[in-house]
């Protein structure tokens, strides 16, 4: 058998019993009762479901504790939460949509905090699993946003006006609408929720896999005196990526929320 530089680590790894992390890192068994199967999938609560409930509960508790006794000059937790609220209000809602968007601020705010805490669980012990790395979570949030921006657009412009502003972009010679309108329809109503979900999902999957690779590698490499140096290096790289993932957690929550705001802005104010 020819052993080259690429297969050598794999051969050694196979002999020593190192299991490379893969998609199995994202699959979790049922916890508690199983309510049967739908399309071959178990209907039950698993670790991800528990984390989602915890994320929602954390948001409720944080906001309750911060604002139950709100002071004019905020201190402590109220101060920290106000930074988050003001960030969503000023940098997302007012910046992207304008004053018209304020009725949708509670939705965007909850969305931001849910995505943020869900992402943060990827680096926060004892969770260490980002909720948004399962397609069900970002896809549901994206479908929810689809319902919200369509509702906003139809309410603001009426069904005909909303469809016209979306399907017939201004400044196009009229024969081209035959070509453009089907593309606009697919792009706005079919592809949009999907790209929104995949953006968040792909970032969280990649981040989680990188962390798993470095820390599993570190714990495996330090076992052997010959490779202990590489183990330490792998561990340090893992620590760097934890910091990086903290940044990604905020950034992706921001991007997910701002995209929702951009879609809402498009629905509320047609292009001129």
């Amino acid at each position: 058998m020819r052993v080259d530089a690429v297969t050598l680590p794999n051969v050694l790894a196979a002999q020593e019993g190192f299991h490379s992390p893969g998609i199995g890192e994202f699959e979790w068994p049922c916890i508690g009762p199983n309510f049967g199967t739908v399309f071959g999938y178990d209907v039950c609560l698993n670790k991800v479901g528990v984390f989602m409930l915890l994320a929602a509960a954390a948001i409720i508790v944080l906001f309750y504790l911060a604002f139950r006794d709100a002071r004019l000059v905020p201190r402590g937790l109220q101060n920290a939460m106000e930074v988050g609220v003001e960030f969503v209000r000023n940098s997302i809602v007012l910046e992207v949509i304008g004053p018209k968007g304020l009725p949708y601020m509670p939705y965007l705010l909850s969305l931001f905090f849910f995505v943020f805490i869900g992402n943060l669980m990827g680096v926060l012990p004892p969770f260490l699993f980002p909720v948004n790395s399962r397609i069900a979570v970002p896809l549901f949030l994206a479908l929810l946003s689809w319902v919200v921006f369509n509702y906003a657009g139809i309410k603001e412009q009426g069904l005909v006006g909303y469809l016209r502003s979306n399907l017939f972009p201004p400044g196009v010679p009229w024969p081209l609408y035959v070509l453009i309108t089907p593309i606009e329809f697919v792009s706005t109503f079919l592809v949009r929720p999907f790209t929104l979900a995949v953006r968040l999902l792909a970032n969280m999957i990649a981040g989680h896999l990188v962390l798993v690779v470095f820390f599993l590698g570190a714990s495996y490499l330090v076992m052997n005196p010959l490779t202990v140096v590489f183990g330490i290096g792998s561990f340090l790289a893992g620590v760097v990526f934890v910091v990086f993932e903290l940044l990604v957690a905020v950034l992706q929550a921001y991007i997910f929320t701002i995209l929702n705001a951009v879609y809402l802005a498009g629905a509320l104010e047609p292009e001129h």
Binding site: P169, I183, R192, L251, I258
Partner: protein
């Protein structure tokens, strides 16, 4: 959209560029899906296999036109 062009910060710039990139990819896919889908339906109805690739190319062309119209300036 009510954006303030004087207001520049790192995160927003990243968000802006990244948004444009993803929108463009979305439109390209939408073009291929829309007209490729229409071509596929025609193929199914007529039993030929010519309209699907033609539709995909047509959709790509339309998507490029839309992208240049919207982002190219």
């Amino acid at each position: 959209m009510a954006r303030n062009p004087d207001d520049k910060d790192q995160g927003r710039d990243y968000g802006q560029g990244s948004n444009t990139a993803w929108s463009i990819i979305g439109i390209l896919f939408a073009g291929m899906i829309a007209w490729g889908g229409i071509g596929w339906l025609i193929d199914r109805a007529t039993g030929s296999n010519l309209f699907l690739p033609f539709g995909i190319l047509l959709g790509l062309g339309g998507a490029l036109y839309l992208i240049i119209k919207r982002y190219g300036s």
